[in-house]
Amino acid sequence: MSEVPSNLHYTKTHEWVRIEGNMLFVGITDFAQKALTEVVWVDLAEVGTTVQAIGACASVESVKSVSEINSPVGGEILESNTVLEDNPEMINEDPYGDGWIFRLQPTDISDIEGLLDAAAYTALIGE
């Protein structure tokens, strides 16, 4: 069983979103990190770039595959979690905490209403 915290928002492509003030923290879900298996490399989002909703802006590589990380909503990348450069395993160990991938300034905070809630995401992954 994968952990799906009830206070977060989710995408169909397995990113989670946490709202802090008017900014968003983004990472990949517990389900996603399990499917990827151990992460060996993270290609971080470039700070300052403008991204579109469901636009690829970072990538995560395991020995199994490389997966693109999408921005859940449109906005500007404010910060990337540089700790992951030397410690990619944080994504496996703490996907909802220290394994966050980037911080986003959304163009329109109300866009998050289009995302999934924990119940809908749990139904999506079918566990």
């Binding site: 060996v40 490399w41 590589e61 020995v63 595959s65 990619p88």
Partner: protein, 503 residues
């Protein structure tokens, strides 16, 4: 363990060369001061017999199609006929240099020309270049031709390339190297292209669509003509990834399906050794509207006239043809991997129209092996922890098929990777693993046409045995190989890209 750097022979070079004719001193003086080494290189000190032993020892630790069954999906690891080696080692082919003038290499030029013609015929294309030396380089070359074509007709705004999610990773990579943005479209549940998703993806910005048909799921795309029509109507070009050409050669061709460009893997379909056994070769064929952008030069011929030399005796004189100013330029030095081209030519010439039977047997073998694996007898099934699952719900497949090990993973925690590693203990190469990614715990199996029923029966039996073995044994496999379970995660996180040299 044999490590060249660990050899500590007697002092000295371990080899001897004749004194330069101008004398060592004078020879040395021809090298500018700035280019001279200040200290000798840290090369191993090994004598010739030690060197020979080292490489022979290495060769005994290798695994290839000559040592055992190699069902690596999408790689078409077929037998490499020895006749090809006889041909490629003829002195007129083996001992020539790319800079030799045309009148000295008429034989090779004739082979190149004939190979271009034969590849064009079997694929329904108009013009072929033999220059690219790998499938991926062929993809890149063709995508560059498409890009230049669009520029030439004022369509440079087309910046999107569409690929299905079952595509080889090289497709989006090649397109990205040309500067294109990639749109990935999902497959339908039966593994076929989702036409509704394609309809949504095509538009005025579509440069091309890249497709492997049959796909990596081993499924032939019956809607391919409709797909071509949709992309062409939008103004895009159709690119055929020839990785799975082994399934259709002589039956149908990409030209008929509506494709504009295609690459051929001479090292797959046309029996050039590969996978550690030899260099690849990835020629491309294009329809006439793209021909003017191909890399130069291309082999060509003209009628012999007047006192022309005899040539190869077929009434023609063979030449290198320059494509002209619109060419994208060279993608490889000289003329590509000539040896691979000649071997593939020998193979093609040996079988000709019979190659249709090659495809038939490749498809028959894949379906037979799939049936054997998915339908064990009841005693065998009872001994297994879980049944292998079908990757896609297809009644018949083409030259390869996918299995999912999900049920086994859920039942006893044994993954697709574990099964693949355990197969090594049974003396066969592991199938392609975790690809395509749309099949969970995927194993992708391609037996090719050159394996016998006995080999496939044994493989199916070993496969079933593994699915009933003690999970502890399977998850720690392989046990009988020189190198045991490799810690891939550690290796990926701790890259060592250079031999540390003598300590």
């Amino acid at each position: 363990m044999s490590d060249l750097f660990a050899f500590r022979g007697a002092d000295g070079a371990g080899w001897s060369q004749p004194e330069p004719s101008m004398g060592a001193e004078a020879s040395w003086a021809t090298v500018p001061e700035v280019l001279r080494r200040k200290s000798p290189p840290a090369w191993p000190k090994a004598s010739e017999p030690e060197l020979v032993r080292h490489y022979t020892w290495l060769s005994t630790r290798n695994f290839g199609i000559d040592t055992g069954f190699y069902p690596l999906g999408s790689c078409t690891m077929k037998h490499n006929p020895r006749l090809n080696e006889r041909i490629v080692q003829l002195p007129g082919i083996d001992r020539i240099h790319p800079l030799q003038p045309e009148h000295q290499i008429q034989g090779l030029l004739a082979i190149f020309f004939e190979m271009q013609e034969m590849l064009a015929i079997c694929s329904g294309m108009d013009e072929v270049t033999l220059q690219p030396v790998a499938g991926a380089q062929g993809e890149f070359t063709a995508m560059r031709c498409i890009q230049e074509y669009h520029r030439s007709i004022g369509q440079d705004h087309r910046n999107k390339v569409i690929v299905p999610d079952s595509a080889h990773g090289t497709n989006p990579a090649s397109a990205a190297m040309c500067g294109y943005d990639i749109i990935e479209i999902p497959s339908a549940t039966d593994g076929r292209i989702d036409l509704a998703a394609l309809e949504e993806a095509v538009g005025d910005d579509t440069a091309a669509m890249m497709i492997t048909n049959p796909s990596t799921l081993g499924v032939f795309e019956p809607d391919i003509s409709r797909v071509s029509e949709m992309v062409h109507t939008a103004g895009g070009q159709m690119y055929y990834d020839g990785a799975n050409f082994n399934a259709i050669l002589g039956k149908t061709d990409p030209g008929r399906m509506g494709f504009d460009a295609v690459h051929y893997n001479l090292h797959k379909t046309f029996s050039q050794p590969h996978g550690g056994g030899g260099p690849g070769s990835g020629p491309i064929g294009v329809k006439s509207h793209l021909a003017t952008f191909l890399p130069s030069p291309i082999a060509d011929r003209r009628e012999r006239v007047g006192d022309d030399p005899k040539g190869v005796g077929d009434g023609y004189w063979y030449v290198w043809k320059e494509v002209g100013e619109s060419s994208i330029g060279k993608v490889q030095q000289w003329h590509g991997n000539s040896g691979a081209v000649v071997r593939a030519w020998a193979f093609y010439r040996r079988y000709g129209r019979e190659l249709e039977r090659m495809s038939e047997h490749a498809v028959l073998n894949a379906n037979y092996l799939r049936h054997r694996i998915l339908n064990p007898d009841s005693d065998t099934a009872e001994r297994m922890h879980a049944m292998p699952l079908d990757g896609v719900p297809a009644e018949v497949v083409k030259h390869e098929f996918t299995l999912s090990m999900s049920a086994l993973k859920d039942a006893v925690g044994v993954t697709g990777r574990d099964v693949a590693k355990r197969l090594l203990d049974y003396g066969v190469m592991a199938p392609t693993l975790y690809f395509p990614m749309i099949v969970p715990e995927c194993l992708m199996i391609e037996p090719t046409e050159t394996e016998s029923k006995e080999v496939m029966d044994r493989f199916a039996a070993d496969f079933h045995t593994i699915l009933g073995e003690d999970p502890e044994i399977v998850t720690t496999a392989p046990h009988s190989t020189d190198v045991k379970r490799v810690d891939e995660v550690w290796a990926a996180r701790n890259l060592i890209l250079r031999h540390p040299g003598p300590e």
